[in-house]
């Protein structure tokens, strides 16, 4: 019998996936419902916004944002 699991499908590249996995581990495995493959993961609907915030924080630490280089006046 087919099974339908409600949730949010997240698509990202493998490096981000690793970060999501780490966040999941740090938070009692409270995010991920189903680990689909390297670039897809199903997470709980209620946790999406929280995950986004955590991911942003994590990225801020690890990725250096290069500054806006559009020409000045």
């Amino acid at each position: 019998m087919p099974r339908a699991i409600p949730g949010v499908l997240v698509e990202c590249d493998a490096s981000i996936k690793a970060i999501i996995n780490r966040i999941n581990d740090q938070h009692d495995h409270d995010f991920i419902i189903e680990d689909i493959d390297d670039e897809h993961v199903l997470i709980k609907s209620s946790k999406l916004d929280e995950l986004k915030l955590l991911l942003k924080d994590a990225l801020k630490d690890s990725v250096r944002e290069n500054e806006d280089s559009s020409e000045s006046d």
Partner: protein
């Protein structure tokens, strides 16, 4: 059938219970409006073909009527799916389709006229002593609507932009909060409103979609206020079938609808004098509710596509006011933006995603920067919305060239968005354990045809859909048929024959 406007209304209608539909379809103007506004083109032709058909339409005949290649089959599935979601089409005994009785009756009545439903509005029998001109109504509608937009956007922009903007009513403010277009922070006299993500995308929609977005919030709220949603919806659809520039009588409206008149006047959908409550004028915002025509003339490019044979005179007064809004933005390849406007509303909207630089009496200059775009994106505006807005309001000079906006700018805006976006997310349902490879293929195909398929993971035999209601129906049907087949097979093997298995 374009725009997000009908999609929004469709989403709302879909979640109504079946009995509400039956009640809604009692009214010919509603049936006509839903027919015209919500259905894909093929579905319309299908409905019309079936409307005067004496017997149900066999599914096999329908399949034979539509060209067999996959693209057309998909169009057919989409048409059928929407028809069924709107409870217009019923499957009778699994072999043929028929139209829902109430809907068919009302649509026939709409086409032939007659009956005593009075759903196309009762014009005032006595002429108005001071009849309103179309131009005046347009101005009124524009003022009211822009005041609402300005309230939404005004909560971000500083108040120093000037220009007189009228205050909107308390009820409308509450509605905007309910709809989460703005939030109120603080309390009492120091309360300040702040625009939300939804508010941003609301601002950048085209006017028709904005009206529907707001009206749907209104519908949701009206339920809480003990207003009958059927009454409310019916009245909205009636408004869509009225004629601009004619006054209509309020005498045959239900109490709920009388109550609505006040709110709708606040939105600028209708105009009613404070002194004379027995008549009301629909404005263009209302009469275009169920059509594709632009709700505010010249507010976007689409205004020019309606043939305006007889209303040259009516329009000329309005042209002056609208001139500034009909294509006023010039974007250069160096990310500079010039906007010929002095409207505080438009300036505020531009300030959402650009860095304003200089303001002249009829012109402002601004710059699109990474920071300005990313600020917009973090507050919930998508790059697509920005690009669409710039395209829709591009100055006629830009319009002469083939890609209207400079491609470098468009690409860069998209790139700036992607830079911040490291993941994409869809809400929906992951379906697994479908069964055999063949079952999986069929289920995926079905989902694809419905347009709900988001992603499939072939190697695992899973797939992801955005909505489940019809998929679960599909699986239930499949299971039922399986059981029947099993039972039939069991019966057949008992009686020693094996030809009874249905496909």
């Amino acid at each position: 059938m374009s725009s997000t406007a009908s999609q929004r209304a469709l989403d709302y209608l879909e979640q109504l219970p079946g009995t509400t539909f039956t009640k809604l379809y009692q009214q010919p103007s509603t049936a006509l409006a839903i027919f015209r506004r919500m259905l894909p083109h093929l579905a319309k032709n299908l409905v019309m073909a079936m409307l005067y058909m004496p017997a149900p339409f066999p599914i096999a005949d329908l399949d034979a009527w539509i060209k067999p290649d996959s693209e057309n089959a998909q169009a057919k599935d989409r048409a059928l799916s929407i028809l069924q979601r709107l409870r217009i089409l019923e499957e009778s005994d699994g072999r043929s389709y028929k139209l829902a009785d109430a809907f068919a009756r009302s649509l026939r009545l709409a086409l032939t006229g007659g009956g005593n439903h009075r759903s196309f509005g009762v014009p005032c029998s006595t002429p108005d002593a001071k009849a309103m001109t179309v131009g005046w109504l347009d101005t009124f509608a524009r003022q009211q609507w822009e005041a609402i937009l300005y309230y939404v956007v005004g909560s971000v922009a500083n108040a120093t932009l000037g220009g007189e903007v009228q205050e909107i009513s308390e009820g409308t403010k509450q509605l905007l909060q309910k709809g989460e277009f703005v939030t109120v922070k603080g309390s009492g006299a120091r309360a300040a409103t702040a625009i939300t993500e939804k508010g941003f995308s609301f601002l950048l929609q085209e006017v028709n979609a904005q009206i529907w977005t707001l009206l749907i919030v209104y519908l949701e709220v009206s339920g809480e206020l003990q207003m009958d949603p059927v009454d409310v919806l019916s009245f909205l659809f009636t408004l869509g079938s009225l004629e601009l520039g004619i006054s209509y009588s309020t005498s045959n409206l239900t109490p709920t609808q009388q109550q609505m008149l006040e709110d709708l006047a606040d939105f600028g959908l209708i105009y009613r004098r404070a002194t004379d409550t027995s008549r009301y004028y629909p404005t263009r915002l209302a009469t275009t509710l169920t059509s594709d025509a632009p709700a505010l003339p010249n507010s976007s490019l689409t205004a020019t596509t309606t043939t305006q044979l007889n209303n040259n005179a009516a329009n000329s007064t309005f042209d002056l006011a609208a001139q500034s809004e009909k294509g006023y933005i010039i974007v250069e390849t160096n990310y500079r933006l010039y906007a010929y406007t002095n409207s505080p509303l438009l300036i505020s909207i531009l300030s959402l995603f650009t860095q304003l630089q200089t303001r002249y009496p009829n012109l402002i200059t601004a710059k699109i920067t990474k920071r300005s775009i990313q600020t917009a994106i973090t507050s919930g505006i998508t790059s697509q919305q920005i690009i669409e807005y710039l395209t829709a309001h591009a100055h006629p000079i830009l319009r002469r060239q083939a890609p209207i906006l400079p491609p470098t700018v468009v690409d860069q805006i998209r790139l700036w968005q992607i830079e911040g976006e490291r993941m994409t997310a869809w809400r929906g349902y992951l379906i697994r354990d479908v069964g055999s490879q063949e079952d999986y293929e069929k289920a995926v195909q079905y989902a694809e045809a419905l347009g709900v398929l988001r992603k499939e993971f072939r190697s695992k035999g899973w797939f992801f859909v955005s909505r489940m209601d019809q998929m679960s129906g599909y699986f239930k049907n499949l299971a039922a048929r399986r059981r029947e087949a099993m039972a039939a097979q069991a019966a057949a093997s008992q009686s020693g024959r094996s030809s009874a298995a249905p496909p």
